[in-house]
Symmetry: C2
Subunit: 327 residues, 2 copies
């Protein structure tokens, strides 16, 4: 089996390639080859013994998608996107990368399908940003997509395209609406949502972190490990069973910031909690107020998608996967 | 005020131009000029005393949208689309006209906005085809859009674009999800939904009509007069009040085919009803089963959009507007 990962240099893309390297199988078949693609040079997973092809290209450039499809990968993971903040600041770039890039990919597959019957599995990462406030809690699976960002709009449009191309049989697609990934490894960044990870990740290694919102802010989380698990499961399950509604809100954990902090206290003690410094930020508070507090995810759970059940578990996953298993 | 109608040669476009000719005002201002555009030559309304410009062009051609925007119309009605059946048969043409054509228009307005602050009112006709079975009855305003046709997908995508461009302030847009327009004037056509109009319009003038489905089929209707009324109201109301959710399911009348026939009996007698010939058609029955039975339309009603309350009324509107007021 040949697996293509577009957006392979990103955090989830790297972890997905590592997981496939460990598993060496996907959907019951041996992964013989991986093609890893991004706009910056992706790294080959160190211990993968199959064939690896690394490509640096931008899906929004004419011909890029055709290049990727020429080798007819069996499973495609399309994770590439510019993030919410950048898509909001640069309207044209957001539509170019997040909408047109995806459409180029879908079109290249459609034309290959018409040429020789090619019909790969396509796993697309969507986002909870497809919904916009005011939101009920929990948000049911049949709630409408009224995004309040250009990023969310672009993801919602790609979801619609994915369903239509799948319905027409051009590919077998599934859209995975990822919760906010927490604890995100790496350094603190300027994303408005960064604090959800910062306030846990930094204190776990003795560093101070800033909390810009109140403790009653409720949001929807899953670990990087779960995010990769969603993608693998999405590549594996029978999509006939899923039917024409191909975009699924993933399960996750709905928790307040206060609940996150309590979990940190239980796992790492009062010393860690004391490293969280409160610096209220009106802008971030206002942005947060529009975010999803949590989803029912009834369909995804019934289809076997699973996530963490407590923030203690999310923290332990981080300690295992990023900190060598202990504090 | 300068009004632009794109899709002016279609049934609703013609009736809209006639209504503006009669009213001579829109949103409290005098309509000084109308530009009527379609891919086939539109006709000028006979008695309009303002300036009329007729243009034959295809919005999907590069430069067409810029041509239309050059004169900076104050209100744009974008009704142009290829219909559901054609968009389903010709995938590329559907996306080219219904998605790319609309996006060209939105982009031309955005660039004009960036150039000189132009920010027109834009009224876009969407469709109940944005939802897809299985459907609750009535369908709430916050029900998700999971279309089962490429046409519905294209309309749902344009709705998302319309909201995002409006949110960014490039234009002041509103999406009008039209019910099935009934009684559609003209000759019977091959649209799968044609029978809803045929079984009333033809018997009213002594002609036979074919009913291909059972009498318990429930669907969602509004008269051509109401459809035009929605567009006028959409061009008039304060969109600040509407907020960021700019696409509204219009009010309508939910009725079964049996209820349609009972109304025909009340208005035109048993003689008319006897002209309906039952010829069950499995294909049309299957297509119908996926159609919307009716919407709550709570938001649209609260905003002052109104439609007929009985099929008797829908039939009387047809007699007044198409048959000179009497049978």
């Amino acid at each position: 089996m040949h697996v293509l990962i577009i957006g392979a240099a990103g955090m989830v893309g790297r972890k997905l390639a590592e997981r496939l390297t460990r598993d060496r199988t996907l959907a019951g078949q041996t992964v013989e080859a991986m093609t890893l693609v991004d706009v910056v040079a992706p790294e080959a997973p160190a211990s993968f013994t199959g064939k690896v092809s690394l490509q640096t290209l931008d899906l929004s450039n004419p011909g890029s998608a055709e290049t990727l499809i020429a080798s007819r990968p069996d499973v495609l993971f399309h994770l590439a996107a510019i993030v919410s903040g950048e898509a909001e600041l640069d309207f044209e770039k957001g539509y170019l990368i997040n909408l047109d890039g995806t459409r180029h990919l879908f079109e290249a597959i459609r034309l290959a399908h018409l040429a020789d019957g090619y019909r790969p599995r396509l796993v697309f990462t969507s986002s909870i940003a497809v919904v916009g406030a005011p939101l009920p809690y929990p948000i049911p699976d049949d709630f409408h997509t009224t995004p309040l960002t250009s990023y969310g709009t672009q993801k919602a449009i790609c979801e619609l395209l994915l369903s239509d191309y799948s319905r027409k049989g051009y590919f077998d697609g599934i859209g995975i609406r990822l919760p906010t990934v927490c604890i995100r490894p790496g350094r603190p960044n300027k994303a408005a949502s960064g604090f959800f990870s910062n306030i846990l990740r930094e204190p776990l290694v003795g560093q101070e972190a800033i909390l810009p919102v109140n403790e009653d802010v409720r949001h929807w989380h899953a670990s990087p490990r779960s995010a990769v698990g969603f993608l693998i499961h999405g590549a594996t399950i029978d999509l006939e069973e899923v039917g024409p509604r191909r975009n699924l809100s993933m399960p996750g954990l709905s928790a307040t910031v206060g609940e996150q902090i309590e979990a940190l206290r239980r796992v790492a003690g009062e010393k860690a909690v004391k490293l969280i410094r409160r610096e209220p930020d009106e802008t971030i508070m206002r942005i947060c107020a529009g975010w999803a507090p949590g989803f029912e995810a009834t369909r995804a759970r019934a289809l076997g998608f699973t996530a963490e059940n407590s923030f203690d578990e999310i923290i332990r996953v981080h300690i295992e996967d990023e900190l060598g298993g202990s504090l």
